[in-house]
C-alpha cells in the first residue's frame, strides 16, 4: 500500500513538472513577438510602398493647332 502511495506521489510530481514546463513554453515564446513586429513597420520604406497606377492605354488627345518645330 505504501509502495502504491509512493508511486502515485512520484508520478504526480513528475506530471506537475512536465505540465509546468509546457506552460512555461508559452511564456518564453511571447517575448519574441515584439522583435518581429518592428521589422514590419510601413514607415521604413515609403517610396517602395507608395501606390502607383500602371498606365495601360493611350491618353485622350487635345485637339489643337500644334506649334512644334515640325
Amino acid at each position: 500500500m505504501k509502495i502504491k502511495a509512493t508511486l502515485v506521489g512520484i508520478s504526480a510530481v513528475l506530471a506537475l513538472t512536465a505540465g509546468l514546463a509546457g506552460f512555461s513554453g508559452t511564456a518564453t515564446a511571447d517575448p519574441t513577438k515584439p522583435s518581429a513586429s518592428p521589422a514590419a513597420s510601413p514607415a521604413a520604406a515609403p517610396a517602395d510602398q507608395r501606390p502607383t497606377v500602371k498606365t495601360t492605354a493611350g491618353p485622350e488627345p487635345v485637339v489643337a493647332r500644334p506649334a512644334y518645330t515640325g
Binding site: A21, A29, A36, K54, P59, V62, A64, Y68, G70
Partner: protein, 249 residues
C-alpha cells in the same frame, strides 16, 4: 475508496500532462505565422523597383513649386495644365519618398528639379521610346522587349534634333489632319538648340506624323522627329503622357 482515489489522481495527472503538451505545441504554432509574416513583409519592402519601368508624376493642383534641392529652396513655379491644356506631368528620375527628382520641360534640355511627392499622383509605365538618329529608326520597348520599330526623319544639319533624354508632355490631334504634323503629335520636354521660337511656339520638339512620307529616312525637319501616320497612331493608342524618350546616335 482507495482505488477511486488512485484513479482520480491518475486521471488528473494525465489531464495536466496533456494540457502542458498542448500548450507547448500551440505556442510553437503561434510563433510560426509571426515569423512568416515578418519575413514576407520584409521581402516586399526590400523588393527593388523594376529597372525597366518609369514613374510619371502628374500635378494635382493648378501649380507646383519646383525646388533646387531637398532643403526646400524654391526654384520656380510651374502651372498645370500646360499651354496645350494637358495635365502637367514630369518624368521621375529619383524617388526618395517624400521628395522626387524630376526631369523638367524647360530650357536648357535635361534640366532637373525636386518636387514634393504630396503635390503629385504617380503612375508607372514600362514603355520607352528610343530614337537612333544615325539609323533613322525608332524603337518602342515594353520593358526589355521591342514592340514596335520604324523609320524616322530627323532635323536638318542647320536645325538638328538634339540628343538627350526627354518625355512626352502632351498628345495633340492637329486641327488640320492633312497638315505637316500628320495624324497626331506628341510634344516632347526638349527644345531646339537653334530655334528659340518657331511658328508661334517656343521651339519645342515633338514626335509627329507627316504629310510627306517620302521624307522619312532623311534629315528633313526643323528638329522634330517625324514618323509615319500609322506609327504615330499606334503610339497615340499605346503610350502615355510622360513616357520617356531617348534620342541618341
Amino acid at each position: 475508496m482507495r482505488t477511486n482515489l488512485l484513479r482520480t489522481a491518475a486521471a488528473a495527472t494525465l489531464a495536466f500532462l496533456l494540457a502542458g503538451c498542448v500548450s507547448s505545441a500551440s505556442s510553437a504554432v503561434r510563433r510560426e505565422p509571426a515569423a512568416g509574416a515578418s519575413s514576407a513583409s520584409s521581402a516586399v519592402r526590400r523588393e527593388p523597383a523594376t529597372g525597366a519601368s518609369s514613374k510619371i508624376a502628374t500635378v494635382k493642383g493648378s501649380r507646383i513649386t519646383v525646388y533646387g534641392n531637398k532643403e526646400g529652396v524654391a526654384q520656380r513655379t510651374i502651372t498645370s495644365p500646360n499651354a496645350y491644356g494637358a495635365a502637367r506631368v514630369f518624368l521621375v528620375e529619383r524617388d526618395e519618398g517624400a521628395w522626387l527628382q524630376v526631369l523638367l520641360p524647360i530650357r536648357p534640355n535635361g534640366s532637373k528639379g525636386w518636387i514634393k511627392a504630396t503635390d503629385v499622383t504617380l503612375a508607372e509605365t514600362a514603355y520607352r521610346v528610343e530614337i537612333d538618329r544615325g539609323a533613322f529608326r525608332f524603337t518602342v520597348y515594353d520593358g526589355d522587349r521591342a514592340v514596335r520599330t520604324g523609320k524616322v526623319a530627323t532635323g536638318e544639319a542647320g536645325t538638328p534634333t538634339p540628343p538627350g533624354r526627354y518625355f512626352f508632355t502632351e498628345l495633340v490631334k492637329p486641327v488640320d489632319q492633312g497638315g505637316a504634323f500628320g495624324a497626331y503629335a506628341f510634344g516632347l520636354s526638349g527644345f531646339s538648340p537653334v530655334l528659340k521660337s518657331f511658328a508661334g511656339g517656343p521651339g519645342q520638339l515633338a514626335i509627329h506624323g507627316t504629310n510627306k512620307p517620302s521624307a522619312i529616312g532623311t534629315r528633313a525637319s526643323h528638329g522634330c522627329v517625324r514618323v509615319s501616320n500609322d506609327d504615330i497612331t499606334w503610339m497615340a493608342n499605346n503610350l502615355a503622357i510622360g513616357t520617356p524618350v531617348v534620342v541618341k546616335g
